[in-house]
């Protein structure tokens, strides 16, 4: 690494207005650019590309499962498919796309010109294509990609039948490790930015909820990722250098890995869902034209979730030979998580209650996401209960629950955020009509895909199998049709993104009449946001219908937007 500073003059990046025909100056998205808004779009675009890869893997799996016997792909190939599907969706789609939103939203929302450490930020981003390529390369090595599931439990994951040093599991661990380093660097940056760079007058309890949830999520990254890294290093040594940390025959303990893995990977769900709670909290007040109900409680509940998320991980190990007392303790802590999350759900519902709902695509996705989340919360409580989990723990019930969280809640929230902020950061409006087609297809596809999985699971269908008993056929046919529908839903979505950015209508500074610092900037915002003219915040966020200004001299900032 060189210490030569990268030449950086933000003024050169600020093209006056996009020229018709293409996003302005698109080449900057392929460079080591230190502008958080460029990095944000880099993250989001590359993550959407990997969403297509992960979705393709899912559809091959659903194609296999549409008939009971394993006829489309070999069962061993199927093992690689579900391993890579999970890994791609978590490490190459959701984590990066949320980091993209952190980059886009945090600095403008708090009135900062950029992240605290722009070069570190760019470095963290450029690790993403590196570990993406490493993971994709594992399809090409002899023996194929990692096939031990995204949990990579030893001793299964430390099998190396071909005896090669570079094998699928090796590349998998390497990719996860690089991703971890990148995430820790990102977390340091996001936390420092939020803690140190807020606009004058923006105290903690005047900060938008998205910044609260981002800070909470990044705290989990800082606390959990080191533990996963330690476990991954030991796994790598077991796999490649003949140690026996997790090998019982050498005196090791395979359960230790499970503890390390879930200590991070349970909270990892909250790393993804917390920013989405932030999206919901930002979006509902705008389109319901009401202040967020219980702002203080919603903000603090984020850190309640952080605390609880770090003491529940053993609920993934109820059937791994965990002692009975431990099962009881972790059952109770897991159920407690329903309290802070329930508070948030009630706050959103109360925000919507008697609001004047404006059903834009963003609002539809946000409402759909909360609807699905309530369902996932109920099945989550069921799974937290030891006697239930012992029976359905390794069935499709868990797969259905997990996808209702990861796709039907988190990805819905991500879509809502894209429809809400696309205009702000590209300067172009998305087509609402295509957006609503996307929403309807996605909503129907998600229910069709994931609801029958719960049913199949309750009937006893095990997860991670390429063939199954014919009695589960109907549920699987429905799920497969839902999956293909979700694939079709990507067409209007991508068409909308590309065509809007190229030739969509120009976006005004504040198309949704929203309240927030980012809406006091032009669309797209200039490279340094407010530069040296940072407004002084004089009231809390979400002042819809209250009639008081957000910042001192608000008229001046608004007038400047009209001139622009």
């Amino acid at each position: 690494m060189t210490t030569t500073p990268i030449p950086f003059d933000p003024r050169t990046l600020r093209a006056p207005h996009p020229v018709p025909g293409a996003p302005d100056n698109w080449r900057r998205f392929f460079t080591f650019n230190t502008d958080a808004k460029v990095i944000g779009i880099q993250y989001i675009a590359l993550a959407l590309l990997f969403l297509l890869v992960g979705g393709l893997l899912a559809m091959i799996m659903r194609g296999e499962l549409i008939t009971p016997p394993a006829d489309l792909v070999d069962p061993s190939v199927y093992n690689g498919l579900y391993t890579m599907h999970g890994t791609v969706m978590l490490f190459l789609f959701l984590f990066p796309i949320l980091n993209g939103f952190n980059n886009l939203l945090i600095p403008p929302m708090i009135g900062a010109p950029d992240m605290a450490f722009p070069r570190l930020n760019a470095l963290a981003f450029w690790m993403f294509p590196v570990f993406g390529v490493v993971l994709m390369a594992s399809f090409l090595v002899p023996g194929g990609p990692a096939s031990s599931g995204w949990w990579a439990y030893p001793p299964l994951s430390t099998q190396n039948p071909l005896g090669l040093l570079i094998n699928g599991q090796f590349l998998w661990i390497l990719a996860v490790a690089i991703s971890g380093v990148s995430s820790i660097l990102g977390a340091v940056n996001f936390c420092t930015t939020i803690i140190r760079m807020r606009a004058p007058g923006m105290g903690w309890f005047r900060m938008p909820i998205f910044c609260w949830t981002a800070l909470a999520a990044q705290t989990i990254q800082l606390a959990g990722l080191p533990v996963l890294t330690a476990g991954a290093v030991m796994l790598l040594f077991d796999l490649s250098f003949g140690t026996s940390f997790f090998q019982p025959e050498g005196g090791g303990d395979p359960m230790l890995y499970q503890h390390f893995f879930w200590f991070y990977s349970h909270p990892a769900v909250y790393v993804m869902v917390l920013p989405v709670f932030g999206f919901f909290s930002e979006i509902f007040p705008v389109y319901a034209r009401k202040p967020l109900f219980g702002y203080h409680v919603v903000a603090i509940a984020s850190f309640g979730i952080v605390f609880l998320s770090l003491i529940v991980w053993v609920h993934h190990m109820f059937t791994s030979g965990t002692p009975q007392w431990m099962r009881h303790v972790f059952m109770v802590t897991t159920m407690l998580i329903a309290v802070p999350t329930g508070i948030k759900v009630f706050a959103w519902l109360a925000t919507l209650w008697r609001g004047k709902l404006w059903l834009t695509t963003a609002m539809l996705f946000a409402m759909g996401g909360v609807f699905n989340f309530i369902f996932a919360g109920i099945t989550g409580i069921m799974l937290a209960t030891v006697p239930v989990d012992v029976h359905v723990g390794n069935t499709y019930f868990v797969v259905g629950h997990f996808h209702t969280v990861i796709f039907s809640t988190i990805t819905f929230g991500v879509y809502a955020a894209i429809y809400h902020w696309f205009a702000k950061f590209t300067g172009r409006m998305l087509y609402e009509g295509l957006g609503k087609v996307h929403f309807v297809l996605t909503f129907v596809g998600a229910q069709l895909n994931f609801l029958p999985m719960h049913w199949a699971g309750l009937m006893g269908m095990p997860r991670r199998v390429a063939s199954y008993d014919p009695e589960f056929a109907l549920a699987n046919v429905l799920a497969s049709l839902g999956a293909f529908l979700l694939g079709v839903a990507m067409i209007p979505f991508l068409l909308n993104l590309v065509s809007s950015w190229v030739r969509g209508a120009r976006a005004p500074a504040n198309p949704w009449q929203a309240i927030g610092l980012e809406w006091l900037l032009p669309s797209p915002p200039p490279a340094e946001n407010f530069e040296h003219d940072v407004p002084t915040v004089i009231s809390g966020p979400y002042g819809y219908g209250l009639g008081h200004p957000l910042v001192a001299d608000q008229e001046r900032y608004e007038a400047r937007l009209k001139e622009g």
Binding site: F8, A112, P118, A187, V188, R196, G203, T229, G242, G251
Partner: protein
């Protein structure tokens, strides 16, 4: 490397803007307003402290693994191994831990603008760190067991090796700071880089104290 990455380009220097540094501020006040000089270093230190807090958890996880495995493994020491020799590592430990004090003397000298004295103390710290690494390497070469010899061998080499990497990193970062001290006027606006590296060095030393206790002092079962 760390220093160049943990830095804010001049264009974004908060000292120029209306925001600034200072303490996190009261609930309704925001992070405070331009207090000038130390704002630049303030971000770096905040970021570095957050990073170290996270880094310490990797060691916490490795220590936990060691304790759990030592408690549960049916066979701990490899056949023919009685235990670890304590004398040489103890001398090493004393050298490394006292180097923290020397680093502190260096930081104090820099704070008082005694650049030559800073360099001397700093160089001594680096020498003591290097002594430790060499001593560690000599111990490794003389041991009758390897990485693959049971959980004990694996734990021993992983823990000492991972810590050793941190010591080497620390020495390299100190070399970088030393080199930068020869750039005219480099430390006029504060010494966040040296403070961060000093912090890193104390961190590495504290980790070693725990590690020494776990590996060498707690040998019985």
């Amino acid at each position: 490397m760390a220093d160049s990455l943990f830095s804010t380009p001049a264009a974004l220097d908060p000292t120029a803007g209306p925001q600034g540094s200072g303490a996190a501020g009261s609930p309704e006040q925001g992070p405070g307003h331009g207090s000038g000089e130390h704002a630049h270093g303030g971000y770096n230190l905040t970021g570095f402290v957050i990073f170290l807090a996270s880094e310490s958890l990797i060691f916490a996880a490795l220590f936990a693994a060691y304790i759990v495995l030592k408690g549960s493994a049916p066979l701990w020491l490899p056949a023919g191994v009685e235990g670890l020799e304590v004398r040489e590592p103890l001398i090493n430990t004393i050298v490394l831990v006292s180097s923290s004090g020397v680093a502190w003397l260096a930081e104090r000298a820099l704070h008082r603008r005694q650049l030559v004295r800073f360099r001397l103390w700093w160089l001594l710290t680096m020498a003591m760190g290097t002594w430790f690494v060499v001593g560690q390497a000599r111990e490794w070469l003389g041991l009758p067991f390897g990485l693959g010899d049971g959980v004990f061998g694996a734990c021993f080499y992983l823990l000492t090796g991972f810590h050793g990497l941190h010591v080497i990193t620390g020495v390299l970062l100190m070399a970088l700071m030393l080199w930068r001290s020869f750039r005219p006027g480099n430390y006029d606006g504060g010494e966040a880089g040296v403070t961060s590296v000093g912090l890193f060095w104390h961190f590495v030393d504290v980790i070693w104290i725990v590690l020494f206790a776990l590996l060498y002092l707690w040998q019985g079962r």
